[in-house]
Symmetry: D2
Subunit: 313 residues, 4 copies
């Protein structure tokens, strides 16, 4: 099996891939591939060059990852089959022998720079910021001696991978920051239902109906379904035209989820199913008695009796 | 075929039966039976002594007819298969030779008395009111000479049937008053779908959930279904415990109606289906594009594809 | 003070009046007047001939009392100021010396007859039923020797008032049957807020908007207000045109109730307020923290700050 | 008056500032200040060093601008008083004398790079991408001769400002791309109501209530208010904890908007009002008759009569 991830090496995404491989018992056997972008990774997956791809989907500080949300929506025929959470712990890495006092400039990705501001004010108040294409790119250039800066900010994995020293660890403003990654595969069988599942969809509303979002949410609420994420994404066709990227707690094989999705499909301009897969936190989703599979099946059975014979209590 | 109706002869219910028989081309062949009460009529129908029963269900002045609504709910296994409307036109009937000036007392059913008040004030201001068990019973007793009154108020059909003269016609306070009657039969095949149909149900809400009526109505609203009648009826188990008698525009064989009924069944303590049948007014129910059978079937088809193979746009 | 009630003497309504007078400490001083109908009683109240009127509004077996609901709606400028509950216990009354075996016919009001069916089957299977205008009228005629029957069915109060013996007590089919009565007065100050209050309204929906009932109920649900009664009443202008008679748990002086009523007024074709008054059961209505007066006032205060100065957190 | 904007000079934000100044007739008199970040600009505004600040809030391709949304939420006491739209037209700028064939590398901001992909594939397929802190920074460095690249991609204004030639104009993938900018000021009086207004809020839901977003949207829907933008933003306190940045069509001085905001304030954990201001498109918001100021005032007037005197139709 060959797995791709959003590279370069040494990023949090690679850490996520390793977690997922360990869970699946494939750490020893899997081949890894660092893709240069999410579309690149997904394209290779679709063409059969890769068997799975790991990409970030949501960050507890920054929100949804637009590149992933948009690429998954545009790419048909790919489904999410697993998710995992990685704690976002930043370090300040330097070449062996460099002290923090020697740092006149530092490199990192703008998102990372935004998350270590209090460390910068406290320890590198005079250092210049040099943006890089990724946190790993910053570490790599520093390691190879091609950088205009003396420190790289990123994950510990990047420092380790490129032979840098850690001048200071745990420098993030928010110690609890966490990023959620997903494993994407070509369609096939759905992951088995565990009771602790998520379903991800993208819903484009009909622009010509007001209250359309309300109607969509009612499809979930009337079946007792909780949303764990709702993100608006522009359709690209004009200001104010949005589609919504949504995670629901439940599996499409549950009656309540299946009926809600069919209802949503009916009222939306476009509805894309991106996958049903086990929740990383493993928490069983409580289902109230009125929305169990049994309750839905009893109702259908009652209705079938009427359709066949008319009233017969 | 033997049809029962809420007797005695000469009531508006008999007029309704004649209308329904004419529509069905059975005027010449059908046997008629005047039952003494709604439960009597329905009991005979259930035991196979009758093939159909006509009873009043709703009056434009008085609202729902409780005896019918309750009897139909309690009697299982009977279904409504047709409806018809009868204009409620009252006459003041007398024995041949009697003048209005000679009338010192009049007999009629209390509901009828309530609908001819302005005629009474104007033409019989001094006459005493003698309540009778039905408008036809008043006419019959007057005709047979056993009555303590000189005039009977009721339908023209009663005067005609019992050989009375009409002293004054069209004496109702409200010239547009109309009563709706239904034809009930034992279960069998459902009446065919015409596009102008009604479905009648009785819904008992779960008392332990606030907002339960709102949830029930949402089951209809989210599928674009209009209610043409909503009546609350006490359950008999205490003040404030109600069930609802409801007419919906649509036929249970329509996808939108079927799914709404299954949803209602799931969230209600008790849901009884009483029938799907052609509307008396014959007005085609408009169905918006998002709730046609085609829209529901497309959604189910989309869902089935996912359940079989995972995502596949 | 002079109080009217729906007569004649000896009915459950008179019993309700006595309960209400006892609660108000006016049993010894009040003058009583037995009106011949609900409109008669309300008319006298409005003209100042009476200071209060007691009428039945709801029965646990039969549902709302149409005559009262309609009369209160049509009569403007009268408000409900109190309610009380009376247990509906029927007796079979006879002239002293008569035994049940001697009863060949019995008189009572049709509503009462419908509630003692099992007693009739068991003890008077062969007796003829003679309808009367009220249960008290049956007792009176029996007592005065003008009746064609040997037994009168009605409340114990009627037997007592007209000097009849009770051949058998507690003969109702449903031992828990209860009727709710209201005390109506001319407008003036509202009854004081007790925390255990009801508010009664009549709402006429705009016929030209589908989902109108749903919108009305949402006005209550979004403010956490519970309905304890919802009755549909025909408007008299055609089949399917209804208005709704509603009891809400709460007092119009509560912010949540006031805002809900103003919202309902805005979206209804017609909204009539019939009164806010203490609940007979005295149960305090629980109010969740988001809908307390404090919560509404804090929101208004926040809004006023914005309207005065623009944003100022 | 001194206005700040998200610098450096030559960005789309400067173009937006010029548009706004022209509309306000202050082009000739206003002092301009290029801030280094959104928080820097807002901080200076709050301290009184600036009188207004222009920042981007929403892009038709990328969606909301997180930095602005978050900064405005965190910064109390600042309000949006105007908005303007700028068409996002990219050019490829070079030093005079350079031809496209000479370009081996190009600099620009990552967001801009993402929007000119088809141009890059077509005309610069082999060129290396050098990320810069802003599109203007790319132009400036190129102009000053300190850049490692031969072309800068950005707005025409940047090319003009830094004396570069335009090698190719209109190179964006999406010719209709537009960015929306807002003018922020310290609180004071609200901008006048024009009938074509927007109101911006940030709502933090109570995490302990399911269906909370549905309830929030109902506050708007029941008053006939349309949302023109809904963005979820993480609260920073964990995955799945969101607040919503919302634009409503309407002005807080309208009764329907004021009541909806007060209702939202009551049910939300936190609600921040960021301003009511004229829509850039000038389209009058249609208000249906049930939600006009007149309708709200009539309802309040009716209610006040009840609170003062009890029922009085």
């Amino acid at each position: 099996m060959k797995y791709g991830y959003l590279g370069p090496e040494g990023t949090f995404t690679e850490a996520a891939l390793e977690q997922l491989l360990a869970q699946r018992g494939e750490s020893g056997t899997a081949e890894r591939y660092a893709a240069i972008s999410v579309p690149d990774a997904l394209g290779r997956l679709q063409r059969g060059e890769l068997d799975g791809v790991v990409v970030p989907i949501e960050n507890s500080l920054e929100g949804g990852v637009p590149a992933t949300l948009d690429a998954l929506t545009r790419h048909g025929e790919l489904q999410i089959v697993a998710e995992t959470l990685v704690t976002v712990a930043f370090v300040c890495a330097v070449r062996p022998g460099t002290a923090l006092e020697d740092v006149r400039a530092f490199g990192t990705h703008p998102h990372a720079e935004a998350q270590v501001r209090s460390f910068l004010r406290r320890r590198l108040p005079a250092a210049e910021y040099i943006p890089t294409a990724s946190t790993a790119a910053a570490a790599k250039a520093l390691s190879e001696g091609t950088a205009d800066y003396q420190a790289a900010i990123g994950p510990a994995l990047a420092a380790e991978r490129f032979g840098l020293d850690i001048a200071e660890a745990d420098i993030g403003d928010n110690a609890d920051a966490v990023t959620r990654f997903i494993l994407v595969q070509r369609p096939g069988s759905l992951p088995e239902r565990t009771g602790a599942d998520k379903t991800t969809i993208v819903a484009g509303l009909r622009s010509d109906r007001s209250g359309a979002l309300l109607e969509l949410l009612e499809q979930f609420a009337t079946r007792g379904i909780t949303m764990s994420r709702l993100e608006s994404r522009p359709t690209g066709n004009g200001l104010g035209l949005y589609q919504f990227s949504i995670d629901l707690l439940g599996h499409v094989e549950e009656e309540r989820v299946a009926e809600a999705l069919a209802g949503a499909y009916r009222i939306c301009r476009e509805l894309r199913f991106l996958g049903s897969y086990p929740s990383a936190d493993g928490k069983i989703t409580p289902v109230e008695s009125l929305t169990t599979d049994t309750a839905f099946q009893a109702a259908r059975c009652w209705l079938d009796g009427i359709l066949e014979h008319g009233r017969r209590d």
